[in-house]
């Protein structure tokens, strides 16, 4: 007798838990106000990406057209698919010391998988991820970018 009661109890308990699950999804179903979908082309003006969004690799410059890149080449070595090419040149400081400065930081957006290894391993935090995501172009050569702006120099405090 006890086993029969337990059997019925088991069924009713099972039904109760099933109903609990269905209540939750039913609540979502009748409350479309909490929809998370972004209606993209309509809301492109007010659409802001979240902080951890990996758009494209950029090199932030400050108001004096200064960046933090020393041209060490660690990003180039870490890039798994060779999207980054570092071209450096030698420059004389006023003290008569020869130093290496970045000439061109070439970034092939077409080859990038946005893994983030370059940003993560940069010792002087020169690279960052941009928030721009509309990257389609008709000419593939436009996907090759030079990240340091022309005439830019390195910040004084970067070692």
């Amino acid at each position: 007798m006890r086993s029969v009661i337990n059997y019925i109890k088991e069924i009713l308990g099972g039904l109760r838990t099933l109903w609990a699950g269905m209540r939750i999804t039913g609540k979502y179903f009748v409350r479309p106000g909490e929809i998370v979908t972004q209606k993209y082309p309509e809301n492109r003006n007010e659409l802001t990406m979240f902080d951890r969004f990996k758009g494209e690799v950029i090199m932030p410059h400050d108001e004096n057209n200064q960046h933090r890149c020393t041209g060490c080449g660690i990003c180039q070595m870490n890039c798994p698919n060779g999207s980054i090419e570092i071209i450096t040149r030698k420059e004389m400081t006023p003290e008569g010391k020869e130093v290496r400065v970045i000439d061109k930081h070439v970034y092939h957006l077409g080859m990038c998988t946005f893994c983030g290894l370059c940003v993560k391993t940069c010792p002087s935090d020169a690279l960052a991820f941009g928030q721009d995501f509309e990257k389609a172009v008709f000419d593939p050569s436009k996907l090759t970018k030079i990240l340091n702006q022309p005439g830019s120099t390195i910040k004084k405090d970067v070692k």
Partner: protein
């Protein structure tokens, strides 16, 4: 030609006599078959496409998304666009597949659901074939689809397909019992297997209200078992995307895949309309007792609307199931059937027989 939205008997009879007057009765029969066939083909395609769309929207709302909303108003033409895409896709020939069975399998699946739709009463007089063993016919025909699924799995010559179709076979063999027994509950109540007779017996109240608790239990069991029978989640072990890629239709592409897809949704519609017919009164408006004012008000709503509404309600419940519960394992599936649904159903049917014997139902 008398067209009455509440009773199609006159309308169909006038078409019948009109055809018989203008040609020999054999040709008239043939033309009638052709007309009904074309109508069912259209209904089948349109309903199937709409159900796919409805499923995607319902699923999206349950998951706090929007779902397809670009093609046509509210995305309603999305599935039409998908169908055109599927029509234009390449049919990939499978090396080492059994060519004949591989090509035949989708048609068997779709024919099985097509045959079942013939016995469904859509409204008074709008009923292709009114068998006196309608319930029996529907159970028999709707389980034919599994033959197509087994053939698809076997002929694809792929282990995923074979495992998927074998699961489907085990599932249908077990759950067919529960479907049959839960329908039998109402057959005992109404005393007939004819679907139109079952509907007539609900003129003073639907069986789910008249049949006390046993009818409600049978309805619940039917919902669960028929969801399993149509291979839908949470019983979609035959497809099981995460383990079997797509189960029995892994190797199918293009329009052949679309046939399987369409048949799944039409099976859902057929099962839902059977549930609506047997438990919720089919096209019969909501009646309580006989001859009161409430019944008269309800009679103003056309039977087609009642039928569509009830079917949509059951379809919604089945979609709700699918997008709430996680998929069962194969042993859990069989445990649910043989240890829970079947004993409950058997006890239920004995109680119903006793109720009917004592005349305790309304």
């Amino acid at each position: 030609m008398a067209f009455n939205i509440y009773d199609f008997t006159e309308f169909t009879r006038s078409i019948d006599t009109g055809l018989k007057n203008s040609m020999s009765s054999g040709w008239a029969m043939f033309v009638e078959y052709a007309i009904i066939g074309v109508i069912f083909l259209l209904v089948y395609a349109v309903l199937g496409l709409f159900l796919v769309y409805a499923e995607r929207r319902v699923c999206a709302f349950i998951q706090n998304r929007l779902g397809p909303n670009r093609v046509g108003p509210g995305g309603i033409l999305q599935t039409v666009a998908d169908l055109i895409k599927l029509l234009m896709k390449e049919l990939i020939p499978i090396r080492n597949a059994d060519k004949l069975l591989f090509n035949i399998a989708p048609f068997i699946v779709i024919i099985a659901s097509f045959m079942a739709i013939a016995a469904i009463p859509f409204a008074k007089g709008l009923h292709a074939i009114d068998f006196n063993i309608g319930v029996f016919y529907v159970i028999a025909v709707s389980s034919l689809g599994v033959v197509g699924i087994l053939l698809a799995g076997w002929s694809s010559n792929s282990k995923y397909s074979l495992i998927g179709s074998m699961r489907s076979g085990a599932q249908i063999i077990s759950y067919e019992l529960s479907v049959g027994l839960s329908l039998l509950t109402i057959v005992v109540f109404s005393g007939t297997m004819q679907l139109s007779g079952i509907i007539e017996s609900q003129a003073n109240g639907w069986w789910i209200f008249k049949g006390h608790i046993p009818a409600a239990v049978a309805f619940l069991v039917f919902l669960i078992a028929s969801t399993a029978e149509t291979n839908r989640g949470p019983f979609d072990l035959a497809e099981a995307e995460s383990e079997l890629t797509a189960g029995f239709h892994t190797e199918y592409s293009g329009i052949r895949f679309a046939f399987f897809f369409l048949a799944e949704y039409m099976n859902m519609f057929i099962v839902a309309s059977i549930a609506a017919t047997v438990f919720l009164g089919g096209w019969m408006p909501l009646h309580f007792g006989t001859g009161n004012a409430f019944n008269h008000v309800m009679d103003y709503i056309p039977p087609l609307v009642w039928f569509a509404g009830k079917t949509a309600f059951v379809v919604l419940i089945m979609m709700w199931f699918k997008w709430t519960f996680p998929r069962l394992r194969i042993d859990q599936l069989l445990t649910l059937e043989w240890k829970y649904l079947l004993p409950v159903n058997l006890v239920n049917i004995v109680i119903v027989a006793f109720l009917v014997l004592m005349g305790w139902h309304f």
